[in-house]
């Protein structure tokens, strides 16, 4: 594109001579300004001081898109060490919760299997050893269960987060196995004392095994809810 010499002089474009030298200057073959010259001139001419200040603030050039240029709010781009610390503490506590929870299934299942040995079956009473083993496993299960629960309950909450997915089922099942884990050892202790006195299990204590099985089932479902998806 040819630009008239008058305009070149007027706009100080490369190829145009400065106005004060035009009269005495020897005629030179004129170089036509390239498109990049025109672009550079237009950019300079049309830039406001505000634009220049903005450009200086950006580390990148006009040919490189920037993160700020994508329009993300600064709060979203900027890291937050305190929040990271909170996430790490939460994660650490929940990892312990998860591992202890899995380990708790061992004495829990063992307690379920030793139940008939404590109670007796086929009309025969259970042996005192069987009762003691069952009681020991019950105490171990209860202790491990509440330690597991402690790590979940004390894990810091992340502000602004909502629960969704199967974790909601995991949390909902707490309403079944938590009371169950309080009730089962109490009923077990009553049943144990009745057996020790040579009495048949009666009253509320006869629900010990039903409550224990329901509790174990809810606990197993809670465990599966984090395993499956």
């Amino acid at each position: 594109m040819r630009i008239p010499a008058l305009w070149q002089r007027e706009l100080h474009l490369p190829g145009g001579l400065p106005p004060d030298k035009t009269q005495n200057a020897k005629p030179k073959p004129e170089r036509l300004p390239s498109s990049s010259d025109v672009r550079a001139f237009l950019a300079k001419e049309m830039a406001s001081p505000w634009d220049e200040a903005q450009e200086q603030a950006k580390p990148s050039t006009a040919t490189q898109p920037t993160l700020q240029g994508l329009g993300f709010p600064t709060s979203e781009i900027k890291g937050n060490a305190k929040e990271q610390e909170l996430l790490e503490k939460r994660s650490h506590m929940l990892q312990i919760h998860q591992k202890l929870g899995l380990l708790t299934t061992i004495p829990m299942v063992a307690a379920l299997f030793t139940g008939p040995g404590a109670k007796g079956h086929h009309g025969l009473p259970g042996s005192p050893t069987g009762r003691n083993i069952h009681m020991g496993l019950g105490i171990l299960t209860t202790g491990m269960y509440f330690t597991t629960a402690y790590f979940a309950l004390r894990a810091p909450k992340i502000p602004g987060t909502k629960s969704y997915g199967l974790i909601r089922l995991h949390k909902a099942l707490v309403w079944v196995h938590f009371p169950g884990m309080i009730l089962t050892p109490i009923l077990g202790a009553i049943a144990y004392s009745q057996f020790s006195r040579g009495e048949r299990i009666h009253g509320i204590a006869k629900y010990h095994s039903d409550v224990a099985i329901t509790t174990a089932a809810a606990y197993g479902a809670a465990l599966l809810s984090v395993m499956l998806k």
Binding site: V38, L42, T63, L70, I77, Q95, K162, Y164
Partner: protein, 187 residues
């Protein structure tokens, strides 16, 4: 001639010049903007598989002098795997609060934008580390003024020094491929 008159004269000339220069300015000022996106990571665990999706990515491409520079970024916390607990663990493992963005940069020759397949060298910034993925293939479909670009980035946790998260004493696989489905519009 007064200064004011000179300025008016210059502005008039600039306007006329602009008219002449527009055809030449166009090839140097092409911009692409990401208008729709879906980034999906896939994790494999011995017990199950899971996908986390984000639709919150933003991107821009600037083409100049035969070369285009692209930038795509998404907040890490916008990835949704369908389980809030897993998402929070993911956020912790990838240090998402400290490094809240996953950023992808790549450069392409302008000529390659019209091809059906694009092969790009990606620079991915994630979890406080930068990894490069060479020659990643993306399929490109042009629909009017828009272009749909899709492909998979073969990301690995070890590339970003992320220890594989564990569930019930079992770690997830190191390979976490990220499926990219994007729609770009030429501005």
């Amino acid at each position: 001639m007064s200064i004011k008159k000179t300025m008016t004269h210059r502005r008039l000339l600039v306007s006329v010049l602009l008219l002449f220069a527009v055809p030449q300015l166009l090839p140097g000022a092409t911009q692409w903007v990401l208008i729709k996106s879906s980034l999906t990571y896939h994790i494999s665990h011995p017990l199950h598989e899971a996908d986390g999706v984000s639709h919150a990515a933003r991107g821009k491409g600037i083409c100049q002098a035969g070369e285009c520079n692209f930038l795509v970024a998404a907040p890490v916390k916008t990835f949704d795997s369908g389980n809030s607990n897993r998402d929070l663990h993911m956020l912790e493992d990838v240090r998402g609060a400290q490094f809240p963005m996953v950023i992808v940069r790549f450069r392409l020759p302008r000529a390659s934008l019209s091809a059906a397949m694009i092969h790009a060298n990606l620079e991915v910034q994630f979890a406080g580390h930068t990894a490069e993925y060479k020659d990643v293939a993306f399929r490109q479909v042009t629909k009017g003024n828009e272009v749909e670009v899709s492909g998979t980035i073969p990301m690995k946790l070890s590339d970003f020094k992320i220890p594989p998260p564990q569930l019930l004493f079992m770690p997830i696989k190191n390979e976490v491929p990220v499926r990219v489905d994007t729609t770009w519009r030429k501005m």
